[in-house]
């Protein structure tokens, strides 16, 4: 097993600090979910981990070897990003065919047969130019590049943005198939958390340039609860625990709790329910910003 590590990463764009002393470890052989609000720093973190952008401070290593400009390390990584239909000069007129051919040249383990299969599956016309593709097709192309790269650590940034529900289901099945067959590591950064939550063995939550948590999804959820009931009863039941996103309805109150360990009981006077990943994420993020 290998580990892709980022230690004490800081990234500044001018005066703006986008990543504030972030440390993360990615172990191979797992499917990771990377969740966070827009602008939280997910894409920046991924850029740094894959040496696509330089870190202002901090180290990125794969098995102890720095990733920056390192052929060996880079050959194990694929970070397939959203392709922009616009370049500085105007529309991006690169043909899909050329884009895929470039991928073939640079990804060491590129599987052309698999790429062709996926092109057919997603019904892409490879002669089309990138600026003429629909959002869904653009997403499909980034997915094709990610999968056909056959890279040991494959990262997808918002892969399902623009895909309709049928294509999204297709995508999840492709990931499961490929993971089951090869054990490749996938890191999927997404907003559509609930659909994909069951795929993530580990989840990394980013908020405002910091990593809020990185753990095994199931263990995390086994310590998350939604405690509800009479306001006073709830308050006393959850005292001593970290609670988020209090919701009030008259005398009734509900609060999301994330304990350090699974809790046997909160007492008889309150109702306790498990929390889904998306709702936990919402509760934790909403709370930080003190939004309505």
């Amino acid at each position: 097993m290998s580990t892709l590590s980022g230690k004490n990463l800081v990234k500044k764009y001018g005066k703006d600090t986008v990543l504030k002393n972030v440390s993360v470890d990615i172990e191979t052989g797992k499917i990771y979910g990377l969740i966070g609000r827009n602008g939280a720093g997910k894409t920046t973190l991924l850029s740094l981990l894959t040496a696509q952008n330089p870190a202002t401070e901090g180290e990125i290593t794969l098995d102890g070897q720095p990733v920056w400009e390192n052929e060996e390390a880079l050959s194990h990584i694929c970070y397939s990003r959203e392709i922009s239909p616009l370049t500085i000069f105007g529309p991006n007129t690169t043909k899909v065919k050329a884009y895929l051919a470039t991928a073939k040249a640079f990804y060491k383990n590129w599987d052309q047969a698999y790429a062709d299969e996926l092109v057919k599956l997603f019904n892409i016309n490879v002669k089309k130019r990138i600026n003429k593709l629909s959002k869904g097709m653009l997403s499909a192309v980034t997915i094709i590049v990610a999968l056909a790269s056959k890279a040991e650590i494959t990262i997808l940034d918002e892969p399902v943005a623009g895909l309709d529900v049928v294509a999204r289901e297709q995508f999840y099945k492709l990931i499961i198939d490929e993971y089951a067959a090869t054990g490749r590591t996938f890191i999927i950064s997404t907003h559509i958390i609930e659909e994909a939550a069951n795929l993530f063995e580990r989840v990394i939550m980013v908020d405002d340039g910091k990593i809020v948590l990185q753990e095994n999804t199931e263990e995390l959820l086994s310590r998350a609860y939604r405690v509800s009931g009479d306001s006073a009863a709830v308050d006393s039941a959850v005292s001593g625990f970290k609670s988020y996103n209090p919701e009030n309805l008259g005398n009734h109150k509900a609060v999301t709790v994330l304990a350090n360990e699974p809790v046997d009981s909160f007492g008889e006077s309150v109702q306790v329910e498990p929390v889904q990943l998306q709702n936990l994420f919402y509760a934790m993020c909403v709370d930080t910003r003190k939004e309505a």
């Binding site: 696509q52 052929e71 880079l74 990584i77 500085i88 000069f89 470039t102 991928a103 640079f106």
Partner: protein, 216 residues
């Protein structure tokens, strides 16, 4: 056994150089067809036009090479970086692309000149070929710099380069033109010297910018 990243990268950029040639070749062929239709039979005029054609061909070559460099700093670099290329592969690749395009392209032009008895312009053609190198490096560096200006920056540079190039090329081709005479009389050594110095300067600038390149 899969080739190393450096090798695959070199091949990719060499092919880019060939594609560049193809683009230039297409433009030139159109002009050739036009010229042949218009001027074949009138020997004096024909020779003069062939002259112009050769100059224009070289100019297109140098110009397109520059444009490809400009474009690379903005899109191709980003695409290739995002696919695992190293910055040094990209830097080396720029040089390879220019070498492939200029050597082969100039070779074809010289062959054409030989066949149409214009070898007296050889110095100018070779001069332009040499000039392509610092121009390519300059445009690559400029490409990085104009990112902030967006489309306008690109348009301005292209227009400036095109106008400058056309003026220079046509003037240099016209016999009797003072610029042509000046260019012809320049010491070969001086030309090469200046070109090399400029080339090294621009490449250094390009190298520094390349080292910091990011995926956009």
């Amino acid at each position: 056994m899969k080739k190393s990243l450096a090798t695959r990268s070199n091949i990719y950029y060499a092919v880019t150089g060939l594609k560049l040639l193809g683009t230039v070749g297409a433009c030139v062929l159109i002009m050739v067809a036009e010229f042949f239709i218009m001027y074949y039979g009138d020997d004096e005029l024909f020779k003069y036009q062939m002259n112009t054609l050769v100059m224009l061909a070289m100019m297109f070559l140098v110009m397109f090479n520059g444009i490809f460099s400009l474009y690379s700093a903005n899109w191709t670099d980003s695409m290739v970086l995002s696919m695992g290329a190293r910055r040094k592969d990209i830097f080396r690749g720029q040089i390879i692309k220019t070498v492939v395009a200029m050597v082969l392209g100039t070779g074809v032009v010289i062959a054409a000149m030989y066949l149409t008895d214009q070898m007296d312009h050889l110095r100018i053609v070779i001069g332009m070929a040499i000039a392509a190198f610092p121009i390519s490096a300059l445009f690559y560096a400029l490409g990085h710099k104009i990112r902030k200006f967006g489309k306008m920056g690109f348009v301005v540079i292209i227009m400036a380069a095109t106008i400058g190039g056309i003026l220079f090329g046509l003037n240099a081709a016209t016999p009797g033109n003072p610029l042509a005479a000046f260019v012809r009389n320049l010491n070969t050594g001086a030309i090469i010297g200046i070109a090399v110095v400029l080339y090294l300067l621009f490449e250094l600038w390009a190298y520094k910018l390349n080292k910091k390149s990011m995926v956009h």
